[in-house]
Amino acid sequence: MTSLQSPPLSAEQAAPDSRALRLVRILLPVAVLAAGIALWELVVRLNNIPPYVLPAPVAVFRTLITDWPVLSQSLVTTLVTTLEGFIAAAIGGVALALLFNQSKWLEYSLFPYAVILQVTPVIAIAPLLLIYLPQHTAVVVCAWIVGFFPVLSNTTLGLNSVDRNLAGLFQLYGASRMQTLRYLKLPSALPFMLGGLRIAGGLSLIGAVVAEIAAGSAGAGSGLAYRIAESGYRLNIPRMFAALLLLSAAGIVIYGLLALTSHLVLRRWHESALGKEN
């Protein structure tokens, strides 16, 4: 949520009406967007640029509406893939972190491979996966590969960030391993875990898109990334832009939902979710 950091205030702004300030911070980017679109439209019209080179914004929106049946189906396909990859990443990341936390041997044995999986570009792995796995599975696995590492590493960090004195207290009262995990380690790790999930949401979308492009095959269940590739071959540039717009919107919505979830879960107690007045 670093984007919400307020800029340094000058002396006369030191005691601003916070509602007016918030309004300005919403209106300013909207104004920039409107100006950008207007300029784009203007440039296209004044120079008579043909739509197969650069479509005007109005043309893109028109395509979005006329092609909605095709695009919406693709959007659903991509979203489902992303969701499957994200859920797999969330479960896999948290489960692995818990296993690593309980057994050092397991951590030493497997952690290097988690890192290797993370640092190898997924776009290079995708074609191989498509050879060995059914297409849909391969796409989900790609989304999982890019998504699970931030969940794993953040959760591991969180599980290791337990307050020492609290751990001593649990020891004093003879807490079992399960109790320590449930009442101490998991709540301590929750803010870190949610941070990891927030990153994983966006990455799952990227993983799904990369795999779809690598797969590049048509069919009923073809996602937005495939539509972009296909429209590119056909020089249907407005549709490329329309699909791109949808992908971008999907990414924003995913991030927003996860940020909101994180805020709702943590708002009562965690520093990151507290207002400035505290």
């Binding site: 307050d163 004195n165 609290l166 001593g168 207290l169 649990f170 020891q171 004093l172 009262y173 003879g174 807490a175 109790q179 009442y183 101490l184 709540p187 929750l190 009562r268 107690w269 965690h270 507290l274 505290n278």
Partner: protein, 270 residues
């Protein structure tokens, strides 16, 4: 480490001693010789302060009594009630920081020791309610730690230590981080709790005034490795704000300060 067998025993029965340390030493893994050899007896129901310069091992001694660490050598004996299986069932511990779970409200924080020992829910709720009232927290049961002041957080920590009805209360500089006014109030509250509940209290502090005000006996420890430096009995019938401003109090403070000073000289930086 080829030390004489370190033991951490418990004894139930008629002994009048709550805690007994014999030749206890603690050498940490990094070679730091933190404590001892230390001999210390604490009678049941007694209020004892461990006073000493920082780093003299008084917190270490407390952790050894609590069973949080094992002694390198020597024996730690903690008496416990017949119904209690282990020594730690009879011990309540208050840390220097409030050490609360930020994700849980006051009630859940106080309930924690009972939850960990699988106490029946109805009984636990009653105990939690009692502890909250005793610590003056009844109105704050649903508040979260971040919503409380430093003094209130410390009260929660105290309520949590009392909720298991322990015989022995171990307190590790619990009020050191509080402002003086709050500390005075908590000192008085602690004294009335001690009078009413008759717990054994071992109170670690680096404040001469606090140790004299609170305890029946002040144990002055030497700089690291901490040993018994001097013992001063504070023989007062009535403790309260009047005692705090009396000549008797000032005299005791002077005596304890004098006992502390020669132990410190020649050991700079401790």
């Amino acid at each position: 480490m080829a030390e004489p067998a370190a033991s951490s025993e418990t004894s139930s029965g008629a002994s009048s001693l709550a805690v007994s340390l014999r030749g206890v030493t603690k050498v940490y893994d990094n070679g730091l010789n933190a404590l001892g050899p230390l001999d210390l007896d604490v009678r049941k129901g007694e209020f004892v302060s461990l006073l000493g310069p920082s780093g003299c091992g008084k917190s270490t001694a407390l952790r050894l009594i609590a069973g949080l660490n094992a002694p390198t050598s020597g024996s730690v004996r903690v008496s416990h009630r017949a119904g209690h299986e282990r020594a730690r069932d009879s011990i309540g511990f208050v840390f220097q920081e409030p050490t609360l779970m930020p994700w849980a409200n006051v009630r859940e924080n106080v309930r924690l020791p009972l939850k960990l020992s699988h106490a029946p829910a109805v009984q636990a709720s009653a105990h939690v309610g009692d502890a909250l009232i005793r610590a003056g927290l009844a109105e704050f049961a649903e508040a979260y730690p971040r919503e409380l002041s430093g003094g209130m957080k410390m009260r929660v920590s105290l309520a949590r230590a009392l909720v298991t009805d322990p015989d022995i209360l171990l307190m590790d500089e619990p009020f050191a981080a509080l402002d003086e006014i709050t500390r005075f109030r908590l000192n008085n509250d602690l004294l009335s709790l001690w009078r009413n509940l008759r717990k054994t209290v071992i109170f670690v502090t680096h404040s001469v005034f606090e140790s004299v005000y609170l305890s029946q006996r002040v144990v002055v420890m030497t700089p690291r490795p901490g040993r018994l430096g001097a013992e001063i009995a504070i023989d007062v019938a009535e403790r309260g704000e009047e005692f705090r401003t009396s000549a008797e109090y000032a005299a005791y403070c002077r005596e304890v300060s004098h006992a502390l000073t020669p132990l410190q000289s020649g050991r700079p930086g401790s």
